[in-house]
């Protein structure tokens, strides 16, 4: 009779008891290798990402767009490429970007860095073509308050410049001047943008969210409250390909493909072992 701790002898036992260190090593390899040896698999585009892209594409040139950087540094692998592709699309269309963040820790810092670096790529100037309003506590107060007067909520920008001294902000007293809201978020902020700003002020908006948040936010897409959605790294890769500027998300898709395939194979192996073991036990 087998005792707990005995070494597995049969194939069925072995595939059910693979050492977790081997699993970790395989995951590591399946993430790293495709980054160096890209498979360059084509990325099929989902309707919600295409709708999002088309909505931004349809904006008149020189529109004013608000881009909330509502994500924490922990999810940057997924969310930062979304903000980057959004900024490239908007600056490429000569849109003016009003950045802000409803995440105190990290959001405004990330916003500042990305606005400067992507703005720099297109020769845009801080204060004239884009601005970073920074962070103020409480989602609801910020989102609703900006509907009346942005200067009430943000008397200064992230760099402590009074809002009335910023040329771009003189043209943006409230949401009336904003043509579109391009949300990038990893948390419940999207619910508030939809529930407060879309519902109250009727502003069209689309969102880039982490993959785990996508199922919930698809209900907003179906209801027409969000025009489109970038769901996780896959959604971002789709957007990058629609923009014809493949970047970090597209490169990451090979690793994601490998790791998903790897997990599925191991789930199947675990189940084959489980059923084979059950059959053997029933027979004996």
């Amino acid at each position: 009779m087998k005792m707990p701790g005995d070494k597995p002898t049969s194939f069925v036992e072995r595939i059910q008891t693979i050492d977790r260190r081997i699993l970790y090593a395989l995951i590591f390899i399946s993430v790293i290798v495709p980054l160096f040896l890209p498979l360059k698999l084509p990325v099929p585009v989902t309707p919600e990402t295409r709708d999002f892209f088309n909505a931004v594409e349809a904006l008149p040139d020189s529109s004013i767009v608000m881009l909330p950087f509502d994500f924490w540094p922990s999810t940057m692998a997924e969310t930062e490429p979304m903000a980057v592709v959004g900024l490239r699309h908007l600056f490429g269309k000569h849109c003016y970007v009003v950045g802000l963040s409803n995440v105190g820790m990290g959001g405004p810092t990330i916003a500042d860095r990305l606005l400067d670096s992507i703005g720099g790529e297109f020769g845009r100037i801080y204060g004239i073509d884009y601005v970073n309003l920074g962070y103020k506590p409480d989602y609801r107060a910020v989102m609703l308050g900006m509907g009346t007067r942005i200067s009430d909520i943000f008397p200064t920008d992230y760099r402590d410049t009074p809002i009335e001294d910023i040329p771009l902000m003189r043209r943006v007293p409230n949401y009336d001047s904003v043509a579109f809201i391009f949300i990038v978020a990893d948390n419940v902020a999207v619910d508030y943008w939809v529930g407060l700003v879309n519902a109250r002020f009727g502003k069209p908006m689309g969102a880039g969210v982490t993959a785990v948040m996508a199922p919930k936010n698809l209900s907003f897409v179906q209801a027409g409250q969000l025009i489109g959605l970038m769901g996780g790294m896959k959604g971002c890769a789709e957007y990058e390909n629609l923009l014809e500027r493949p970047a970090r998300a597209t490169r990451g898709m090979d690793s994601q493909s490998m790791i998903h395939l790897f997990i599925v194979v191991f789930i199947i192996m675990g189940n084959v072992g489980y059923y084979a073991g059950k059959r053997r036990a029933a027979r004996s």
């Binding site: 590591f28 940057m76 820790m105 209900s219």
Partner: protein
């Protein structure tokens, strides 16, 4: 606030914005309250040399170092706060999140078993969505992306909508209970 949400007019808007400014200020003080609370709890643990007290020293040191640089030097680019954030905090947070991939893969392999009909349905759905949401899925079976998208757009959205409506009703009823003074547990009373 509720009237201002549905109504229009300058006076209403001014009143609503004033209330919102107060809300933002109160939220700022709530953050301060959080800092005071974590300092009190952590300092108590250190003083009594309770379990993991060295970790609490690290916590307090990090908290006050970041806050100190942020308050006295600012948080914009080129400051020490920004350097600490970019080079220490950000990589640490990203690492914590990345480690999840290893645990999820290991847990899926060990625990995801088709023991019952419900578990089997969940397992098949998970496999289809996992493969359908990555480019490689179309090479395993060409219809995987379409099937995965259908699952995401219909059965999944239906369930999500139910959860959202349920949570909203719960929040509304809880708010009513608080407004009417029925719910007082948040004040430490039943």
């Amino acid at each position: 606030m509720i009237v201002a949400f549905f109504g229009t007019g300058d006076m209403l808007a001014d009143f609503s914005n004033e209330a919102l400014r107060y809300m933002s200020i109160v939220a700022g003080f709530a953050l301060l309250l959080g800092v005071i609370s974590i300092t009190r709890v952590s300092a108590g643990v250190v003083r009594k040399r309770e379990k993991d007290w060295p970790h609490k020293i690290v916590l307090l040191l990090c908290l006050f170092t970041m806050a100190g640089f942020g308050i006295f030097q600012g948080i914009t680019s080129g400051t020490v706060f920004e350097w600490l954030f970019e080079n220490i905090q950000k990589p640490m947070m990203a690492t914590m999140f990345s480690v999840l991939a290893f645990f999820i893969a290991s847990a899926a392999y060990r625990a995801f078993r088709a023991r019952t009909v419900e578990a089997t349905i969940l397992l098949i759905t998970a496999v289809v969505v996992m493969l359908g949401r990555v480019p490689m899925g179309q090479y395993v079976y060409e219809h995987f992306p379409a099937v995965a998208n259908w699952i995401m757009m219909f059965p999944s959205v239906a369930v999500q909508r139910g959860i959202i409506i349920g949570a909203a009703l719960g929040a509304a009823s809880m708010s009513l209970r608080i407004i009417l003074g029925i719910e007082r547990t948040y004040m430490g009373r039943g």
